[in-house]
């Protein structure tokens, strides 16, 4: 049975989530504080963690930082905070995704399933990615749009960006994570540069680059590859 740890200081929200996950056949653990959550993860090894950022005492981002030292258990951050900064901090610290409260259960469950699928599939060394509008040959570094016929050329930087995004389908990649993956940790390019590259990629691969369907922007946070739109 898949197990999920719910970390939130709001008793009512914990109850709402645990009822929902229990009804869907998950095994549910609960913690009210960050310290308790870390102990719970060490003892129960849940498959997934739902973590509220605004916790009393040890704050959510600190919890992620503390856990990422020794476990790669996927973490979905739940937050009521509107400021992008805390989401980015959480994601940069190693969270896998986030949802802003209030959210629908359907969306949360979809995110949970996507992350669990990704985690269980292990290696993400895909040979190719196929969508309704384009096909990417990740081995031969070739991209085709419009029914396999037209090959479009991507620059090496664009390939590096695309490769990182499609290997983490549906997962939100922050600007910093993307920059680190493409240019390395010590390089500090302007986010505008990333935006320009992203524009080129969309022009080349998206059917309507003004309204992207595959390479989605999460405003102020990062990008996400949505394979089956």
């Amino acid at each position: 049975m898949t197990s999920v740890l719910i970390v939130d200081d709001e008793r009512q929200l914990r109850r709402a989530l645990s009822l929902n996950f229990a009804a869907r056949g998950f095994e549910v653990f609960e913690s009210a504080t960050g310290e308790a959550a870390i102990a719970e993860v060490a003892n129960e090894h849940p498959d997934l963690i739902l973590l509220d950022l605004g916790l009393p005492g040890m704050d959510g981002v600190s919890v992620i930082e503390a856990m990422r030292g020794w476990t790669s258990t996927p973490i979905i951050v739940l937050t009521v905070r509107d400021d992008e900064q805390s989401k980015v901090q959480a994601l940069d610290a190693g969270a896998d995704d986030y949802l802003t409260k209030p959210f629908g259960m359907a969306e949360l469950v979809a995110r949970v399933r996507a992350i669990l699928r990704r985690a269980s599939s292990g290696s993400t060394e895909l040979p190719e990615v196929v969508t309704a509008d384009f096909r990417l040959d990740l081995v031969g570094n070739r991209a085709f749009v419009g029914g396999e016929q037209v090959e479009t050329r991507l620059t090496p930087t664009e390939w590096a960006i695309v490769r990182h995004l499609v290997r983490n389908p549906q997962r939100l990649i922050t600007y910093r994570q993307l920059i680190t993956a493409v240019w390395g940790p010590s390089y500090d390019p302007d986010q505008n540069l990333l935006r320009v590259h992203m524009g080129h990629i969309r022009r080349k691969l998206e059917p309507d680059h003004a309204r992207p369907a595959y390479f989605i922007t999460d405003s102020g946070v990062g990008y996400r590859f949505q394979p089956g739109s």
Binding site: Q12, L19, A23, V80, R81, P102, M105
Partner: protein, 868 residues
């Protein structure tokens, strides 16, 4: 038989350790072989006190039957029969049970003393009759057991058992004084730090008086009239002259530094001549009284003698006099006043304080009366020329045959130089020529002609004119230079003063205008802004209703004109006409004034900006808190409902029921929060309807607890049955209590109940909600009560941290107060203070008054507006 001696340990408040000290002394004396017994001791269940009794023999108490109960009282007869040397009798002010031989315990003690037994007793200051009403006013507790002061004063020894208020409260909090369950109430009522300090001070003062009393009687009995330095007494002579205030203030500071007494004395000389300035004297008397001193009047032939006699009689330790204003000549003839006083009052320290004229007092500007050339001196020079030179000729006429001409000319030179010094170089030169002509006419042969017979005489006359003119010019130049130097110095002083004001004073503009007036000795100065005809005054001194003698436009800096637009500022001076030198200086000072004005305006702008920033910070905090607190319940509801709507999920009936409960609870919570937000808005815009009435605190508290739906054992109620009703809006009080209690429940540990208690202090009711949670640090308390402020933005309270803020709003709207304190031993104690309801007649009157108001106003709503 000799009367026994009485020793009383006096305490400022219960719990300072009187009984302990009494027993301690008993034990020590018993160890030294004295026969000591305990007549009566009240340990109040204090373990350390009980321990102290040790091996002392405790006399059995006498049982007195009273209305079916048996009370125990000290058995005086048994003690007298036992004949100990010393008996310890606790609680000197105790009232004996009805039916005892004596009504009061101090009467029992009298009997013991009469029997020749030494008594050691204890007494609290609040039992002293003379202090009874003042103490009941301070503490709000009426003390029924009192002892006449005279009886206590007759005690052979009084010893104060002193302890600082903080130490008492600490002992109290540790449970050394009262059992734990009474500690909170005691600390919040009688043992408030303010109360304890006041009681302590009263005790010390009372004892100090008594010490003085015995000192006086000792001095009288032993015929000692020399000053006895117990408490410093500072005597200051009131001069009745302008400037004496500084002397008085100085003396008051000297007295204050040593907690001494200030005594002002005015010596009226009975020679029938009123020489004193009555107005100044009245002001000085008032000042002495304001500074806490007393004023005495003495009449005598000789001021020094009268003053010294008074100081000795008053046992002064210090005598403060102003330095002599009399001329040195007066001093030589009449002897120095100060010297005489010092000699007459040989044992008293005499302080001579430098007298400062008000006009030259530090920080005040001396007038810069232009020391330009005085026309009166020119006139004097001319007069001396016209009168002095002919007079000189007349005086020397008989000598013209015998005295050499050069000698005569040297004598004339002296006069001419004097004229030059007085009248300046022109008058000096004219005088030189005039003198040479006079000498020529009258004293050079041939006489009465301008002809000169001898060449030598001609040379002498020419040299005379040259020397007289040259020296006269030099003298004149020197005196002009020195005048200029003086003027420059005064100008520099004026500029320094103005610059200092600019740098030091928080509001320099008014000060600078004042300084302008005094520097130039002006009748009035007006600083105004705006165009002519529609000026608005910024600052003004003196009389400004006449025609101005000078008008200056202040320069406007770029920065200032940016802030204020094109604005002209004008400085007008009235009274004296200013010389060109004065105007030059005035212009410089006006520039500084403009600078001060600009600074003032910039500071105001900066202050307004900072205030706006604060408002912004509060708004941001509010937004965050509201978004957190509103969205959290919405998140639960949405998660629950969206989960329920998923047709694929197999919900069990139990899960479904729980889901519905969650949704309902979260909806209630949201509703409460919205209610709180609405209350807060109503409070902020002042739209809260309040309906005063008399309310029983117990009823209101029960209703509040019911509305909170808390478990019965979560809150302990301790409300006395005889508590008078409070004057408040019962509905608002209920909501306030509910807020405070729910806040306390949130923080207190689960197994420790929150305590809700009430008591009456004077004419107010104190309701305390005591939790044993983490408490709130003193510096954060104001923040807790400020609306929309929470400790951090992460706690999971429902109410945007509004609970206590709204409560404060409610309580203050009901003319009450709310205070946060530490619970001794950890936690927070919230005290709500409300007035007690007026007595029924009074309430009826007020109701009648309100009815009259209601008649005048449009129909008052019958029921209170629903706020939630």
């Amino acid at each position: 038989m000799n009367r026994g001696s009485l020793r009383i340990y006096l305490g400022a408040s219960p719990g300072v350790g009187k009984t302990y000290r009494m027993l301690n002394e008993g034990v020590r004396r018993a160890e030294r072989g004295t026969d000591v017994v305990v007549g009566v001791v009240e340990t109040h269940g204090r373990a350390r006190t009980a321990e102290q009794i040790g091996d002392l023999e405790v006399m059995p108490m006498k049982a007195v039957a009273y209305r079916g109960t048996v009370l125990k009282e000290m058995d005086v007869a048994a003690i007298i029969a036992r004949r100990p040397e010393v008996v310890l009798v606790d609680e000197y002010a105790h009232t004996n049970a009805p039916g005892s031989a004596n009504e009061k315990r101090w009467q029992d003690v009298e009997q013991l003393l009469e029997a020749g037994i030494e008594v050691i007793s204890t007494l609290n200051i609040q039992h002293l009759e003379s202090l009874n009403d003042v103490i009941s006013r301070i503490t709000g507790t009426q003390q029924r057991e009192t002892v006449p002061d005279a009886i206590v004063r007759r005690a052979d020894q009084l010893e104060l058992v002193d302890m600082s208020p903080e130490a008492i409260r600490r002992r109290m909090a540790h449970g050394n004084i009262y059992p734990a369950e009474r500690v909170d109430a005691a600390l919040a009522n009688y043992f408030r730090p303010g109360n304890l300090s006041a009681l302590r001070e009263l005790a010390l003062l009372w004892l100090a008086d008594r010490v003085e009393e015995s000192l006086t009687s000792y001095l009288d009995a032993h015929g000692i009239s020399a000053a006895w330095e117990t408490r410093e007494r500072v005597v200051v002579g009131l001069t009745g002259f302008v400037g004496g205030e500084a002397l008085i203030r100085r003396a008051a500071r000297m007295a204050g530094r040593v907690s001494g007494e200030l005594i002002g004395v005015h010596v009226a000389v009975d020679d029938g001549l009123a020489q004193d300035d009555a107005q100044a004297l009245a002001a000085q008397r008032k000042l002495v009284q304001e500074l806490g001193g007393t004023v005495h009047d003495v009449v005598g032939h000789d001021t020094a003698e009268a003053l010294a006699a008074f100081a000795i009689r008053e046992k002064a330790t210090q005598l403060v006099l102003g330095a002599s204003r009399r001329s040195r000549w007066h001093e030589i003839v009449h002897g120095s006043f100060v010297t005489r006083v010092t000699r007459l009052a040989a044992q008293i320290d005499v302080h001579i304080i430098a007298q400062t004229d008000d006009t030259s007092a530090p920080g005040r500007a001396g007038p810069l009366r232009a020391p330009s050339y005085d026309p009166r001196r020119v006139v004097a020079g001319v007069v001396l020329t016209v009168v002095g030179l002919p007079g000189f000729i007349a005086a020397t006429l008989p000598l013209r045959e015998t005295v050499d001409l050069s000698t005569l000319l040297l004598l004339a030179l002296v006069i001419v130089l004097a004229i030059a010094v007085l009248g300046g170089r022109i008058v000096g030169a004219v005088a030189a020529v005039f003198a040479s002509l006079l000498v020529n006419w009258f004293e050079v042969r041939p006489y009465y002609t301008l002809t000169i017979a001898e060449g030598e005489n001609l040379l002498s006359l020419v040299v005379f004119v040259v020397v007289a003119a040259t020296v006269g010019t030099l003298v004149d130049v020197v005196s002009r230079r020195s005048l200029e130097a003086r003027r420059s110095r005064l100008e520099a002083e004026a500029l320094t003063r103005s610059a200092t004001s600019l740098a030091v004073e928080p509001e320099p503009v008014a000060r600078l205008v004042e300084q302008l007036a005094s520097t130039f000795d002006l009748g009035g100065v007006l600083l105004s802004t705006g165009a002519a005809g529609q000026q608005a005054s910024i600052a003004a001194v003196g009389e400004i209703d006449k025609v101005p003698t000078a008008t200056l436009a202040l320069p406007t800096s770029e920065l200032a004109s940016e802030l204020t637009g094109e604005e002209t500022r004008t400085l007008q001076v009235f009274g004296r006409t200013l010389s060109s030198d004065d105007l030059r200086l005035l212009r410089v000072l006006a520039d500084q004034l403009a600078l001060a004005l600009d600074n003032q305006r910039l500071k105001a702008e900066a202050g307004a900006a900072a205030a706006l920033a604060d408002v912004d910070a509060v708004r941001i905090a509010l937004l965050r808190a509201v978004s957190h607190d509103l969205r959290t319940p919405v998140a639960s509801i949405k998660a629950m409902i969206s989960g329920l709507r998923d047709p694929t999920v197999p919900w069990t009936p139990g899960q479904l029921a729980e889901a519905h409960v969650t949704i309902e609870e979260e909806t209630d919570r949201l509703n409460r929060l919205i209610g709180n937000l609405l209350d807060a808005s109503r409070l902020q815009i002042g739209a809260l309807a309040i309906h005063f009435g008399s309310a029983g605190v117990a009823d209101v508290a029960a209703a509040a607890l019911h509305s909170l739906n808390v478990a019965a054992d979560a809150v302990t109620l301790a409300i006395p049955a005889d508590l008078p009703p409070a004057w408040c809006d019962p509905a608002l009080l209920e909501r306030s209590l509910a807020n405070v209690v729910s806040n306390a429940l949130r923080y207190t540990p689960l197994d420790v109940p929150v305590r809700l208690e009430a008591s009456v202090v004077g004419t107010s009711i104190h309701i305390r909600v005591i939790d044993r949670g983490a408490g709130i640090a003193a510096e954060k308390r104001a923040k807790v009560i400020a609306p929309f402020q929470r400790l951090g933005d992460q706690t999971t309270t429902d109410g945007v941290g509004l609970g206590l803020a709204i409560t404060q709003g409610f309580v203050e709207a009901m003319h009450g107060t709310i205070r946060l304190d530490d619970t001794p031993g950890g936690g927070l104690t919230v005290t709500i203070t409300l007035p007690t309801a007026p007595a029924p007649e009074q309430a009826l009157e007020e109701l009648a008054g309100e009815a009259a108001d209601a008649d005048a106003a449009p129909a008052a709503p019958a029921a209170r507006e629903e706020v939630s």
